[in-house]
């Protein structure tokens, strides 16, 4: 049994030591957002935030996440209250098949939490662990820029209106 915070709520998952965090999330936790692409940290499909830091869930042992905060794309926002990045990805139509997007959104959220107005080069660098075979890269970069413009200035992010901002640690409930 491993216990951690998942998208802000405590979970206890019955998994053996050999289970990866990705298998735990897609299995007993019942999520679909984190996706399997390679299992070797080379594609970013499985990216989640571990205590706010983008991490490949495919190689992390689920057990090693005990007591920590895990945020997946499902924890960024909902249809009713989308994260600015999710709204921006829809506005820019940033995707084709969309398989890469869960991981990319998570990495972009961490980037914006750290750098609210990233230069294009910084966005490309932050997303370099992610593969997108459909060639949606330029739309994705535009969407991250759009989200950055739409997000409140960092000084506001701890105020009451902070729901759905890039403050990933707060969203992770830590």
């Amino acid at each position: 049994m491993v216990q951690f915070s998942l998208n802000g709520a405590p979970v206890a998952l019955d998994v053996p030591p050999e289970a990866s965090l990705l298998q735990a999330l897609r299995g007993p936790a019942g999520l679909s957002g984190p996706r399997f692409g390679c299992g070797t940290e080379r594609c970013g499909s499985c990216m989640v935030l571990l205590d706010g830091v983008p991490s490949c869930a495919c190689t992390l042992a689920a057990e090693s996440c005990a007591g920590r905060a895990v945020v997946t794309v499902e924890g960024l926002g909902t249809r009713e209250a989308p994260h600015p990045l999710q709204a921006a990805f829809l506005a820019e139509q940033a995707g084709q098949c969309g398989y890469c997007l869960s991981g990319i959104l998570v990495s972009a959220a961490a980037l914006l939490a750290r750098d609210p107005a990233p230069a294009e080069e910084a966005i490309r660098a932050a997303l370099d662990p992610h593969l997108c075979r459909c060639g949606s890269h330029n739309r994705i970069i535009r969407a991250v820029q759009r989200a950055a413009r739409a997000m409140p200035a960092p000084s506001d992010s701890h105020g009451p209106a902070a729901t759905g901002t890039g403050d990933v640690n707060r969203m992770a409930g830590s």
């Binding site: 399997f36 249809r79 869960s102 890269h137």
Partner: protein, 734 residues
Amino acid sequence: MSGPSAAPAPQLADPLTGRTTPPSGFGAAMPPVDGKPRLPGSLHLNRRLSQWLSFHADGRVTITPGKVELGQGILTTLSQIAADELDVDLRRVTARAASTPDSPDEAVTSGSLSTQDSGGALRHACAAARAIFTEVVAQRTGVPLASITIEDGLFHGPAGPIGSYWELADQALLECEATPDARPKPPGARRIAGTSVARIDLPDKVFGAARYVHDLRLPGMLQARMVRPPARRAVLTALRDGPLPGDARVVRDGSVLAVLATTEWDAEAAAARVAARAAWEAQDTLPEQALLADWLRAAAARGERSDILREGEAGAVARTLRRSFFRPYLAHASVAPSCAVARWEGDTVTVWTHSQGTYNLRADLAKALRCPPEKVVVRHMEGAGCYGHNGADDVALDAALAARAVPGIPVRMLWSRAEELGWSPFSPAMLVDVEADLDAAGNVAAWRSHIISNGHSSRPGRATEPTLLSASMLAEPFAVKPSINPPMAAGGGAPRNGVPLYRFPARQVETTRLLEMPVRTSALRGLGASINVWSIESLMDEAAALAGTDPLEYRLRHLDDPRAVAVLARVAAVSNWRERPKREGWGMGLGFARYKNSGAWAAVVAEVEARERVLCRRLWIAGDVGEVVNPDGVANQFEGGAIHGASVALLEEVRFDRRRVTSDSWEEFPILRFSEVPKVAVDIIARPDQPFLGAGEASMAPTIAAIAGGIHEALGVRPRALPFTPDNLAEATA
């Protein structure tokens, strides 16, 4: 269906089949001559209106195309077309995923034909449905037909509302065949088709919803993994017994080896243990990678040579250019490994799959499982992006074979990354020999080319043997036949785009299909176009340089087709081609093609920077796809195809030793990453009154050609081998 062109696709009989019309399955754009009144697209062969749409009393419309979502946005496009013809709000339209036996048989979602095949059919079917419903409302109310209007599904007469699709949601009205006299709206009356509505599938994808077949969870479902041989064509000779984790079990049929378990971790651990206990008899079956071009030439001498085109007479020849171009095997490299879910109930199996063709897959599953096709139900669910015949069909058989061991229980088979990159069908390695005779003015007087390749199609559903990977490894195996090429009337395979569109007085194009197939080959975006367009455009650049003419002017000098001229002029304008700066280490190149010589036009300018390796920094693209249903969707497809092309041009090559494909990880088969992809600007020329032509494959080949041209401007060398890596460029000469 094609617009004006100076050089229409040659309509020769196919060298392989002798047919002049495509056999079923190569896209329904050209239905057979069957004596029935001609109907648009796939409607011709699926004529019942109820096969295409249904109305519901709660105010919704369901469209039921046979084409499938591959990430290209087709379901959004088709919904737009239907909403427009029916005069209903787009939000009322749901597109149901294709399945057998309910959906119309639209063969394969490929060849950039979906908007033609399915969009054309749906537009006509919806116009017919609208006419039928209007007539019924007129009869019931006595309001004259001509004074009835429809607004969001409500029928209005001069005195107000008189009915709706929803009130009459009576399926019997659509239980009839379409007739040719339905009249879709004129282009000027369209309000939804032609606008950039948002993709209907994208919200699920940004909120992480369960949408892919990978996400399907059925009660009691087991997880399955394959255990692949260490070499191609290896035979399983012994399997040691031993403990397995959890409830894992082995399923074996000949050399097909799989494991099943309740959890993914047990399935993966079991696969690793079983792999260690398997003994295989393996041999060298692959050519020497370093000598692949030589092998292609040697195999061509034993291959099947045929004429594609032979026409015209060359005048006086001042000089002849002779060049050869090489392309390695290419992988699909989808971001997700292929996946399928299967469940047997009695003698019937249901398979959930991201295949491109539900009926074609059903046919091959039935052959491989040795059961009648009626006992196989195939349901489409989305997978990751699909750029051709990848592992989707193969994994469907693997799932069905594994599930056969556990009747009544659903089994989810997921391939590994190594299987996806190492065992999916590959796009064939190719050699193209070109000779161009130049006249005294430096213009091309005659063109001769010879295109050498394995066939570009081993899609399921077309041969007597199933082409699915594991079918050849069963205890009672099926033979593997060398891949074939689609006929030229359907765009051809290896010779796709091999016939230059330019006005050359004499043109001769031949192809040799290899009859040995060490590596299983099939269709990948553009088929042979990627090398053929590049070889033609490279020769045009070289001849232009010899004539002291700019590559753009030289091309225009050889073109009559006004739509070709228009895309070249547009891309030159947006890229500022004529005033392009000369910078040390930088270069710009130009590429042009009309996809399949009968589809969309695309002209591309690439800006490249030569550092320790070549990078493509920017792409400008001008396209013409006829009628545009969703402008942003077309731009998205052009961008995606261009970035795919840039990745193929700069990085991609399937590597192998004498036994197995070794480029089976992202380290060994890199594709362009965010820091390496070019910026892309797409400009689509609107042609609302022209037939739609499809966008997914048009930009890739001209992008490769444009990058090659940019490399010459930057480095002074003309690439002769893909990918354009430092090693390959070092072998090229100026």
